[in-house]
Every structure is written in structure tokens, then in C-alpha cells.
């Protein structure tokens, strides 16, 4: 009996681990079979939920445009999805300037999606400046991750 309970607990833990992985895996190699099409998880795993920017810049890079092209196609497919685009910055700037820079980045991504046919009414933008880092280190690798615009289903 004790063994059975332990087994059940282990199975739950395994499931939780899988769910965690699909949530955090942005490369598209996750367990796609468990993902609801059109969900945030689907966007993260199979499309890419964020685009990255160069230091102190809000111009879209080629890799960012490619990601946004896929986002535009995905939003066409799931036409009932509305999204929020959040602009973020690395920690090497001041709070107030980064709020404006993050907004610029979110706007740049939203403008590109609009040009690719996504209705303005389906998109909201927000800037978190340097207040929502996803990579917590204080090095160029982390900063490159934190200079982004992240799309999430609302």
C-alpha cells in the first residue's frame, strides 16, 4: 500500500515536470503532443513568443522579424486570440528611460504585426522597463535575453 501511494506521487511529480518543461521550453523541441493548439504553450513551443533587440535599440533584427512573421501567421490561424506585447530591457539603464525604451520595443513588434495583417484591436502593448528580467545573471548573455518584446495570449 505504501508503495502504491509512492508510485502515484511519483507519477504526479513526473507529470508536473513535463508541464513545467513545455512551459519554459522556447525552442520548439518540447513535448508538443501535450500542448493545446492556439494556447500560450503552443505559441512558446512552436512559434516563439519573444523577439530580441540590440543594446539600447528598438529596431527589429532579421531573427526577430522571422519570429514575428510566424506569430502573424499563428494569429491568423487562431483568430480569436488577443495578445499583449510586453517590452523589456536589460539592467544597464535607468528605470525611467527603460520604461520608455521598453515601450518603444513593444511598439516596434506591434507595428510589424500590424503590417503583417494583425488587427490593432487584437493587440495591447505594455512596458516593464528593466523590472521583469527573465535571465537573472548580470552578464551580456543574460542582458541579451532580457532585451525583448514578449507576446502573450490574453
Amino acid at each position: 500500500m505504501n508503495i502504491k501511494i509512492l508510485g502515484a506521487v511519483a507519477a504526479v511529480a513526473l507529470l508536473a515536470a513535463c508541464a513545467d518543461q513545455t512551459k519554459t521550453d522556447a525552442t520548439g523541441t518540447g513535448t508538443a503532443h501535450s500542448i493545446v493548439p492556439g494556447s500560450q504553450e503552443d505559441l512558446v513551443a512552436n512559434v516563439g513568443d519573444r523577439v530580441f533587440y540590440d543594446l539600447n535599440k528598438s529596431a527589429l533584427r532579421a531573427d526577430g522579424k522571422a519570429t514575428l512573421d510566424k506569430q502573424a501567421a499563428w494569429l491568423k490561424q487562431y483568430a480569436s486570440n488577443n495578445v499583449q506585447i510586453a517590452g523589456n530591457c536589460d539592467e544597464r539603464g535607468t528605470t525611467e528611460y527603460n520604461l520608455a525604451l521598453g515601450q518603444r520595443r513593444a511598439n516596434a513588434a506591434a507595428s510589424y504585426l500590424k503590417a503583417k495583417g494583425v488587427a490593432v484591436a487584437r493587440m495591447t502593448t505594455i512596458s516593464y522597463g528593466k523590472d521583469r528580467p527573465t535571465a537573472m545573471g548580470s552578464n551580456e548573455q543574460a542582458w541579451a535575453q532580457n532585451r525583448n518584446a514578449t507576446t502573450s495570449v490574453r
Binding site: 543594446l55 499583449q84 539592467e91 544597464r92 539603464g93 535607468t94 528605470t95 525611467e96 528611460y97 520604461l99 520608455a100 525604451l101 515601450q103 518603444r104 511598439n107 505594455i126 512596458s127 516593464y128 522597463g129 523590472d131 521583469r132 528580467p133 527573465t134 535571465a135 537573472m136 545573471g137 548580470s138 551580456e140 543574460a142 542582458w143
Partner: protein
């Protein structure tokens, strides 16, 4: 190492003439002050000095426990302790070690035995008596003595409620500061800031307020929404700050008496970086537009909004000059972010920062003679807090570090507070911390504030009217 004593008679006359208005200006509504006549004095070198020098040898001062019996004695010790800590923290006073005291402070009304205080090396002496009275009230007698001329500089009796005792001590410390240095103190003030807890990628940030000595800390919001950049109203118990309430980042006003929050104005897009006009009748702030942000001014009801810049660039961090005629702000209109100054109605702006790196967060000194700023270069280079004259001349850096940001002036313009973050050591951000730090405008006497959590975005209150 050099004192520059002013002729004691002239200075004392001058200050005695101003004593009435001084009391009226520093005593809050709940405190009653009554002058205590001086028992008499003689000539000699005064402790009263001229503070308009850059860096000075601290004034040696003796602060024995205020007299009193039982609970009154404890109150007298506590008050002396707060005064002692305030003055020592300023860096402009050296409190003489009580072990050197030959006698305790004299009791009520007595003239101290100056022969016993001279050998301690103290130039000034604080004496007094604490009385815990009925009905939760306290009465504090307070006298400030100039030891060499053997004269009373100040004598005041305060009555207030017992819960107000720390404020009485701060008010007394402000009186000592002003009578001996010839400029207003800043001890009876508060600091509003952002308190932060939790891991870096899921920070909980709360609006917080504390006395300038980090006591009486209180959180004003519950952390449900991200909050940033609080600033004090120049005369009212009101704060302008930025909140992400309902995922709409906007500037709000927070009434400290009622706890009520109201959104300021109705703008398309995020509003941020607010500061009050010196007369308290308006707020300048930034509003995000398509490609950048503009500076706008609005009254406190959110009406009469006026756009002051329209550069297409990021114009941010506006701050009025204390006379209300000019606004300093940061802008990347010329490429890198720099500091500009324009008239308070907008129009042509003059760039004033020309050093290497980027310049941000200009803040005008209440004295009007300096603008404090944050300066930073590339990724790996340190950030600095500095000051320059409003025409851009005389730039001096006061403190540098991995990240230092967001200066705010004490109301007398003599001390700056800012925040300092340390570098995260690994991918989990281990080692990251954020602290409030104060520094004298000469760049010495740097001190970390004892906030209960990580802290950022400090804003110093004015002195109470």
C-alpha cells in the same frame, strides 16, 4: 581641519532675531513649543560656525541623557539617543563619548558647570529634562549651550503626545543643526521609496515610507501591482507614483492621510516619471507615444494637460527648478541620452551634459545651484551619481558603483540619497541586492539606510511646514 568661526556676537544676534520664525517653521501641529529664557552668558569662542565651506571638521558636541526619573528617565535617554544618532549621521557633528563626561546634564533650568564640560573637548552642550505627564503627554525641556562663551543658544519646552517622541528628538536635532551651522536641518523628514522582496524575476514591489533615520517603516501598498518612482508633494501629505494597477501603467496620486489612490489624468498610453511643481499645483511627467515619450504638465485634478516637448525621441524624467521657471529632463533626441533644460512652458531646450557616457534622472537641488544626475557608460562600466551646475559647468561625481541610480535631495540641499544595486553573481542572480544610500554633496559620509527589505527609488520629503 580648519574652523572658520564667525564673530560669535554678531552671529548670535542674527540667529536670536530669527528664533521666533524658526520655531514657527519647524514645529508640527501636534507639538507645542515655548521659549525658555537663558540664565545668562559670557564671552568666548563660539561653537556656531559657517557651514558654507566644502568639507569641515565635525563640531564636537556633548549630548548627555536628558534628566528625568523612572519612565521619564528612559524617555530622556531615548531622546538623547535619537539626537545623537541624527547629528552623528550627518557627518557634520562629532558626539563626544559619554565616558568623557565629568557630570551628567544639569537638571531643569540650571546653568551647566561649564568648567566640567570644557575638558571633554565639546564646543556645544545639549541639556534638558523629560517628563512623562498624565494623559499620554510628554513635556521636554531642551537647552543648547555654547560652551566657551558660556551662553545659551536655544531654550525651548515642547509638549506633545508620547507617541510623537521621536519627532520631538528630530525637531531638536534640526534646531541644533540650524543654530550651529546656520542652515536648516533635515532630520524631521521622511523618505518614500519602493520596497522589494522575492526573486529577481518575480519581484514584489511595494510603496513604502519611513523616517529619514529608517525608523517607523510602513508599507503603503500590498504588492498586488508593480509600483515605481514615488515623489513627495512639496507641502501636502501626498505622493505621486507609478502603478501597474489593472495592467495599465500610469501615474497615480496617493493621499497619505486617507490612503486613497487616484489616477492622474486621462492619457493614451503609459504615464510615468512624475514630479510635482515647486508650488504643488501641477505635476510634470512623461507620456509614452508611438516612438518615444513626451513631457506633459497637468494640474492635480488631471485637467489642463499641456504637452511641453514633442521631439519624437524619448523625453523623460522632467524636474522643475525650485523657482518653477525651468524644467530639466533627459532625452535621446541627439542620439545618446543627455540632460537638457527648457523653460517651464516648454519650447527650445539647451543641452547641459557633455561628459562621456549617458546622463539620466536630473534632479534640481532645493537650493537651485546644482542638478544631480545618474551617469553611465557601456555595459560593464560603473554607474555614477554626480552633480553639476544648471548651466552644465562644475560636474563632480559623488559616488560610483555597479549600479547607482536616482538621486533625491534632502530639503536643505546638503545630502543626497540614491539607490545602489550589486551585481548578480550567477544565472540565478545570487548576490543581487538593492539598498538606499545617502551621501553629503561634497561626496563624503556615504551611509547605507537600514531598510527592512531591498529598496530603490527613494524620494526625500520636504520639512514639515
Amino acid at each position: 581641519m580648519i574652523y572658520l568661526p564667525t564673530p560669535s556676537l554678531r552671529r548670535r544676534d542674527l540667529l536670536a532675531g530669527a528664533a521666533g520664525s524658526l520655531l514657527a517653521a519647524t514645529v508640527p501641529a501636534a507639538v507645542h513649543a515655548q521659549p525658555l529664557p537663558a540664565p545668562g552668558g559670557a564671552g568666548g569662542q563660539s561653537a556656531v560656525i559657517d557651514v558654507s565651506r566644502a568639507r569641515v571638521e565635525p563640531i564636537p558636541i556633548a549630548i548627555p541623557d536628558l534628566g528625568g526619573d523612572g519612565p521619564s528617565g528612559q524617555l530622556g535617554r531615548d531622546i538623547a539617543g535619537v539626537i545623537n544618532a541624527d547629528l552623528a549621521r550627518s557627518g557634520l557633528f562629532r558626539v563626544v563619548d559619554p565616558a568623557a563626561y565629568i557630570q551628567s546634564g544639569p537638571s531643569r533650568g540650571d546653568t551647566p558647570n561649564f568648567q566640567n564640560w570644557r575638558p571633554t573637548g565639546a564646543q556645544a552642550l545639549v541639556t534638558g529634562k523629560a517628563d512623562v505627564q498624565g494623559g499620554g503627554n510628554i513635556r521636554i525641556e531642551f537647552r543648547l549651550w555654547d560652551i566657551l562663551p558660556q551662553a545659551q543658544i536655544q531654550g525651548t519646552a515642547y509638549t506633545t503626545t508620547q507617541s510623537n517622541w521621536r519627532r520631538i528628538a528630530h525637531i531638536m536635532a534640526d534646531v541644533i543643526y540650524e543654530r550651529l551651522l546656520g542652515e536648516k536641518g533635515y532630520f524631521d523628514t521622511r523618505v518614500v521609496y519602493i520596497g522589494a522582496t522575492g526573486p529577481r524575476d518575480r519581484r514584489t514591489k511595494r510603496l513604502a515610507i519611513m523616517d529619514q533615520d529608517s525608523e517607523n517603516n510602513r508599507f503603503l501598498t500590498d504588492g498586488s501591482w508593480l509600483v515605481l518612482t514615488p515623489r513627495f508633494h512639496p507641502t501636502r501629505d501626498q505622493i505621486a507614483f507609478m502603478s501597474y494597477a489593472n495592467n495599465r501603467p500610469r501615474v497615480y496620486l496617493f493621499d497619505l492621510t486617507s490612503g486613497r489612490q487616484t489616477v492622474l489624468g486621462d492619457f493614451n498610453g503609459m504615464t510615468f516619471a512624475p514630479r510635482f511643481a515647486p508650488d504643488g499645483g501641477a505635476v510634470v511627467m512623461a507620456v509614452a507615444n508611438g516612438g518615444g515619450s513626451d513631457i506633459v504638465a497637468t494640474d492635480l485634478g488631471g485637467h489642463g494637460a499641456r504637452k511641453l516637448t514633442d521631439s519624437g525621441a524619448i523625453d523623460v524624467s522632467p524636474c522643475f527648478s525650485p523657482d518653477g521657471t525651468k524644467i530639466a529632463f533627459a532625452s535621446d533626441r541627439g542620439g545618446d541620452q543627455q540632460i537638457y533644460v527648457m523653460g517651464s512652458g516648454g519650447g527650445a531646450a539647451q543641452r547641459i551634459s557633455f561628459g562621456s557616457g549617458r546622463y539620466a534622472t536630473p534632479v534640481w537641488s532645493p537650493r537651485g545651484d546644482l542638478i544631480a544626475f545618474t551617469r553611465y557608460g557601456g555595459d560593464e562600466s560603473d554607474f555614477s551619481i554626480g552633480v553639476m551646475h544648471p548651466d552644465g559647468s562644475g560636474e563632480r561625481l559623488l559616488s560610483s558603483g555597479w549600479l547607482v541610480e536616482g538621486p533625491t535631495f534632502a530639503p536643505n540641499g546638503r545630502v543626497l540619497m540614491f539607490w545602489r544595486e550589486t551585481r548578480g553573481r550567477d544565472a540565478r542572480g545570487t548576490g543581487f541586492s538593492s539598498r538606499l544610500v545617502s551621501v553629503d554633496i561634497t561626496g563624503f559620509n556615504e551611509r547605507v539606510a537600514a531598510t527592512p527589505t531591498d529598496a530603490s527609488d527613494p524620494a526625500w520629503s520636504p520639512l514639515p511646514a
